[in-house]
């Protein structure tokens, strides 16, 4: 399955709506991992966590083909210089839903896995910042992710990368990863 189709189906499985580019990237990342499709999605290390140009390009393509509507929301955020901080929200429109529905028939197994994974992810709804931290920790775990880790291990790793995130945030991210079944934690 190519990245474009996976991104389209992911958005469809997520109810057709997603708020913010960062959340979109991280959601697709986790859905890729949970459905076994991650290695085809082009994710690579970035200073702010896993990021895929291919996923970004797919979102862009969905827009120009007229399948998703993108709106700019400021959510009331103003930066230190008085400029509004924009957040991009994505909405699979009516035409996009028809096209995506056709794809669910083309890829029935992936679609089933995606729906299951979305249900697990949504049950543990967290905001995009926590989602980003979780994605970053999971990505950096690399080969170690199949082994047992402890919260202390994760804290050490976060510090070694120089991230300014609190112990609470690490615990929350670890808990999230544990709940969705992506890491095994001893504590």
């Amino acid at each position: 399955m190519n990245t474009y189709d996976f991104v389209q189906l992911s958005l469809h499985a997520l109810g057709g709506k997603i708020e913010g580019k960062t959340k979109f990237q991280k959601m697709v990342y986790f859905l890729g991992e949970m459905t076994g499709e991650l290695e085809n999605l082009g994710y690579r290390a970035h200073f702010y966590g896993p990021y895929s140009d291919e996923v970004a390009e797919s979102i862009s393509r969905l827009k120009i083909l007229g399948f998703i509507d993108q709106t700019v929301a400021t959510a009331g955020s103003i930066n230190s210089r008085g400029f509004e901080v924009a957040r991009y929200d994505f909405n699979l429109n009516e035409v996009g839903q028809i096209i995506a529905n056709e794809k669910t028939k083309k890829y029935p197994e992936v679609w089933l896995e995606l729906k299951k994974s979305v249900a697990i992810l949504m049950a543990k709804a967290i905001d995009y910042i926590k989602l980003s931290i979780a994605a970053k920790i999971f990505f950096m775990l690399g080969e170690k992710k199949d082994n047992m880790s402890s919260i202390e291990d994760l804290k050490k790793m976060a510090r070694s990368f120089g991230w300014s995130i609190s112990d609470e945030q690490i615990i929350e991210a670890a808990d999230f990863l544990k709940t969705i079944g992506l890491v095994k934690l001893t504590v």
Partner: protein, 459 residues
């Protein structure tokens, strides 16, 4: 005193001894015959500059950037060599050749790590690692390091970013150079201010090229320069047509005229023998051989049209959203090699329609369907590489999130176009308007009809 060359963009470019020797190799001198912007001179008459002076310029810019950063003497030298040689594998008409190389290369000859690279980039690496003149000057070890830097670099990221990345020396030179030679002001930015803004930032031995927090405005200017030059020069209507005519001439020469010499030129097989032959070609030899000597073929006819500036005309332009939803995804793939049969059928039927409207026979092989994208200015800041990063503690942040100007630009302004070029002539604007309006609906219907028949699987 180092050898100096007068350059219209950077004034004096200094060459150290080995750099001068590299410039004097046959492989490098060939770049004098490869125009930077293919046949863009048919719309911008001044655009006659070549890969030769661009490569000198990239070496100069990379050298300036490397001096500003804390790099070792050896690393600085490697950067300059890599910058000098980065385009040495370009074929006739620069990037236009890439399309034909990708089409006719032997895919089984590509190694796993080469599958995502452009063929001219693979040729560049093969030249650097195997050309005897270059090896004699630099030594095999340095050649291998340069090759690694230009392909799969595993060393410190900042070195790679100087030669390939959103702020690389290549872009900095081509924006200024192409602007100057095209006679436009779109690509102008403050090179030296930009360099003052750069920093090698990150953990030890893992630093990357970033901008300082107070360097945002210099980068804004640089990114906007790239956007304006892309939309006004690189994607100029006539430039798109001339590029497509060269590509079509090559395809017709190989597939319709059965020209073995042409097929051999573009049948890349990953061997040094192939590369040795490939680097004997430049724009002039190509036009002489396939445009003048090989008369009577379709390739020759199309090249002759180019030489005499008897260009195809754009008779149709539309966006994907002008078409019914179910064919839009296929529309985006029509110019891919895998869609060549459906594309050919569409072009044939459109040719018949155009002939009916202009009341004159036209060759269906000279009707070209093209699609292209104009990225939004925000996407242009990212290019196809990663984002430009601002060196902030503790974690760098993307430039587009830090710049007030870019944060306020709606990134949705990206456009894709589907166009048809055909061998028609019109004398006046009103005649053009009449022909294009008459053809608009019929062409749209033809494209939709064939795409509908093929949705879900190319036939």
């Amino acid at each position: 005193m180092p050898f100096q060359i007068r350059d219209p963009v950077h004034n004096f470019i200094e060459l150290r001894e080995k750099e001068r020797e590299l410039v004097n190799t046959l492989a490098f001198q060939r770049l004098r015959g490869i125009r930077q912007l293919a046949m863009a001179y048919l719309v911008y008459p001044g655009a006659l500059h070549t890969r030769f002076e661009h490569s000198l310029g990239v070496k100069h810019v990379a050298g300036l950037m490397a001096e500003n950063l804390e790099l070792s003497y050896d690393d600085k030298a490697t950067i300059r060599y890599a910058a000098l040689l980065h385009d040495i594998g370009h074929g006739p008409f620069s990037h236009v050749s890439e399309n034909a190389l990708a089409r006719y290369a032997d895919p089984t000859s590509l190694k796993a790590n080469q599958k995502k690279e452009k063929i001219h980039e693979i040729i560049t690496i093969l030249i650097i690692q195997n050309n005897l003149q270059i090896i004699e000057i630099l030594g095999q070890r340095t050649c291998d390091k340069i090759a690694s830097l230009l392909s799969e670099w595993h060393g410190e990221p900042v070195l790679r970013s100087l030669v390939s990345g959103p702020l690389d020396a290549d872009k900095q030179d081509y924006l200024l150079r192409d602007s100057l030679f095209c006679g436009v002001k779109y690509g102008i930015f403050d090179l030296h201010q930009l360099h003052r803004s750069l920093i090698a930032y990150g953990l030890e031995n893992n630093r990357d090229l970033m901008i300082k927090e107070d360097g945002i405005h210099a980068v804004e200017q640089f990114v906007l320069a790239k956007y304006y030059l892309t939309t006004n020069v690189y994607l100029h209507k006539v430039r798109l047509i001339t590029d497509q005519m060269i590509i079509r001439a090559i395809i017709l020469g190989i597939e319709k005229d059965n020209n073995d010499k042409l097929r051999k030129l573009y049948s890349f097989n990953n061997t040094t023998d192939y590369v040795e032959e490939f680097i004997k070609w430049d724009d002039a030899r190509f036009l002489q051989t396939f445009g003048l000597e090989d008369n009577s073929g379709k390739c020759q006819m199309l090249l002759e049209r180019l030489v005499h500036r008897n260009l195809l005309k754009r008779v149709f332009t539309a966006k994907p959203t002008d078409f019914v939803p179910e064919i839009r995804e296929l529309l985006m793939k029509l110019t891919e090699i895998g869609s060549k049969y459906i594309r050919s059928r569409i072009e044939s039927e459109i040719a018949a329609k155009v002939a009916e409207v202009i009341k004159s026979d036209i060759d269906a092989d000279f009707v070209i369907l093209n699609t292209f994208t104009i990225d939004s200015v925000k996407e242009i800041s990212e290019n196809d590489e990663s984002s430009i990063l601002v060196a902030k503690y503790p974690v760098p942040v993307p430039f587009e999130n830090t710049s007030n100007l870019f944060a306020s630009i709606n990134e949705a302004f990206k456009e894709v176009f589907v166009e048809i070029y055909a061998p028609v002539n019109w004398q006046t604007k009103s005649e053009r308007k009449q022909i294009c309006e008459t053809l608009k609906e019929p062409i749209k219907n033809i494209i939709e009809k064939f795409c509908r028949e093929n949705v879900g699987g190319e036939k």
